[in-house]
Amino acid sequence: MIELISEARCTECNICVAVCPTNVFQAVPDSPPIIARQGDCQTCFMCELYCPVDALFVAHDANDPAVVDEGQLIASAALGSYRKAIGWTPGSRAQRGIDQSFKLTEPH
């Protein structure tokens, strides 16, 4: 489930409020959005992909809330790791075109 909006990183663009398919976030004037409906989070990780500054973190547990430590997440490069893996960060664009699924799904 979504666990973190880094206040240090958030630019209050509210893209997460727009893209979350289950409407988990709530915009707040002159402030970062809040996680208003965590129970509706389906753990799809889409908000992380669309956050342009890697301010969000979705923990792996889809059933129960978890405690996360922002300092640790930054130290372990976990913030933004999925966006990077999918090739949506400026430095990882080459990842977009190297999908190896065909090696796994087509007859060998």
Binding site: A18, V19, T22, D61, G97, S101, F102, E106
Partner: protein, 536 residues
């Protein structure tokens, strides 16, 4: 019971030729196709067109087969037996043709398909985030007006019973929307009963309920018990990589017959004890390909600090219901029309029996069906609107919605309680995965009782209405599923009857279902096939 539209004062109102409900692959193809035919199109999504639905957070194979007679024949034949010989070759051919053209269009539009060692582009897989980001861009460039976070609540119908638009809420603005349109495409996806299967919690059967209230019927709802392997606490229901997995019990003893991903065996084991998996049969090259193919698969493991290649992890089966089943709204012609004039269905909201019969593993065929049926439904809807003429507004428009929207003598029902009650019937492996006539009958008695309680409840409060309609849609969907499952007294495709474990050549037919207060089923002939009796 029907309320006049004038009750909906205080709403933002739009006129369009075509309204598309749902912004996943099927809806976005439908919107593009209708707009390119010259229609004025509005697309509404419950969440956000681009991130909503089962495809966006995932990766999917596509049934993309070169136009080579032998390859096409092999592609069609490969799933015949799995699907219980219910697929229709004429539909398979046209979906293969349409999918081939549409995927090539994606390449033209800039989708970053990978190349193999020989430099040839490989177009058999799509990454969900890339694909749906591209589709949103195409929808916008086509001039379609998108309303995000705008769940549809009910259809509008005219005095002749033809569809006349829909209405819903803009949940981030706290207002209502009304779209008057002579053609509506239902592309709301299937129903996974809020199981948290990846991306599936927006898929609650809303379109099935809305269409049924307007008089549409469904087909193949017995093929609705797809389950996917998932790490126990995670949402990532990608089953492909379990082809390289071994499964064990709590003590580490192998579960006989579970290797690969034999879900029936795993489901049987889960009824008795915990089950653990490990992707221990992938060589280093395969492991590397997996990481590049589906980074999302590894998120739960990386974040929990587990190595799925060297460490065991607990697994469960999450219900995917009709999302990776094949039942849905019945299609009546090549334009993906339903039985209601002006109403079309596409993607997982529609039945996929025409190309899959009674089985689909998701991806591949469903992805092909979504882009093909969406394309046809959008074109069909635009055509319908053009012939109808939008200037000739219907004299009287009424709201087709009932449950949770109309007044009743009892207090409004609690959506969460209703949801849990329906989940208690459809989640358990010994009720839905493995079905039995007596057990289905008991479930139906409870579900029918639940429906009638919801029906006599008062309209939901505005802050609860979306969840209340979702709960009602899930109850309705579960009733069509189990009534159909009871009517098919055999095992075919994914539908497994413990009391009728064999396929019965005498039941190679389609099952239509429908109705709200009274649910019914009937049979239709499956396409004639010379080879079926021999092959079955």
């Amino acid at each position: 019971m029907a309320n006049a539209l004038s009750n909906a004062a205080g709403s933002i109102q739009f006129d369009a030729d075509v309204l598309v409900i749902g912004g996943g692959p099927a809806g976005s193809w439908a919107a593009c196709s209708a707009a390119s035919a010259g229609a004025r199109v509005i697309l509404v999504d419950k969440g956000y067109c681009g991130s909503s639905g089962a495809t966006a957070p995932s990766g999917t194979g596509v049934w993309y087969v070169q136009p080579d007679a032998a390859k096409r024949e092999a592609a069609m034949a490969s799933r015949d037996a799995l699907g219980g010989f219910l697929a229709d070759r004429s539909w398979m051919r046209r979906v293969l043709d349409r999918t081939y053209d549409n995927v090539n269009l994606l390449a033209e539009w800039g989708y970053p398909f990978p190349s193999d060692e020989t430099g040839q582009e490989r177009r058999t897989n799509l990454k969900g985030p890339e694909y749906m980001r591209l589709m949103r861009r195409r929808v916008r460039e086509a001039g379609v007006k998108i309303l995000d976070h705008s769940p549809a609540l009910e259809l509008l119908v005219d005095e002749n019973g033809a569809v006349a638009g829909a209405m819903g809420v803009r949940r981030q603005e706290g207002e209502n929307w009304v779209v008057r349109a002579p053609a509506v495409v239902i592309a709301t996806g299937g129903c996974a009963f809020l199981s948290k299967a990846l991306g599936c919690n927006v898929l609650t059967g809303d379109g099935h309920l809305m269409a049924a209230e307007a008089g549409a019927d469904l087909s193949g709802m017995e093929f609705s018990n797809a389950y996917a392997i998932s790490p126990a606490s995670a949402s990532v229901t990608k089953t492909l990589f379990y082809n390289w997995a071994s499964f064990t019990d709590e003590d580490g003893h192998p579960i006989p017959g579970a290797s690969g991903h034999h879900r029936s065996v795993i489901a049987k084991a889960l009824l008795k004890h915990k089950v653990y998996g490990q992707i221990d049969r992938a060589d280093p090259g395969t492991q590397a390909a997996m990481r590049l193919a589906q980074p999302n698969f590894f998120l739960p493991f990386d974040r929990a600090g587990h190595d799925p290649f060297t460490q065991r992890f607990q697994v469960i089966l999450r219900l995917e219901g009709t999302v990776r089943g094949t039942g849905g709204l019945r299609i009546t012609d090549n334009s993906c029309a339903t039985s209601v004039p002006g109403l079309y269905a596409a993607g997982d909201a529609a039945t996929r029996e025409l190309i899959c019969g009674g089985f689909t593993g998701g991806g591949s065929h469903n992805a092909a069906w979504a882009m093909s049926s969406g394309f046809w439904a959008g074109a069909g809807a635009a055509d319908h609107a053009r012939h109808r003429g939008t200037r000739a507004q219907p004299r009287q428009v009424t709201r087709a919605g009932g449950v949770a929207l109309t007044q009743g003598p009892n207090r409004p029902f609690d959506p969460e309680r209703a949801t849990r009650a329906v989940q208690d019937e459809v989640f358990p492996y010994d009720k839905n995965y493995f079905r039995h006539g007596a057990v289905l009958g008991e479930s139906l008695t409870r579900l029918d009782g639940l429906w009638h309680k919801l029906r006599i409840a008062d309209a939901a409060a505005p802050e609860n209405v979306v969840k209340a309609r979702e709960a009602a849609a899930m109850v309705a969907t579960a009733r069509w599923m189990f009534r159909s499952a009871l009517a098919r007294a055999e095992t075919r495709g994914m539908h497994k009857r413990e009391d009728y474990p064999n396929q019965d050549a005498g039941q190679r037919h389609y099952l239509t279902s429908g109705g709200l207060d009274e649910v019914w089923t009937s049979t239709r002939l499956a396409p004639a096939r010379d080879d079926v009796e021999v092959a079955a």
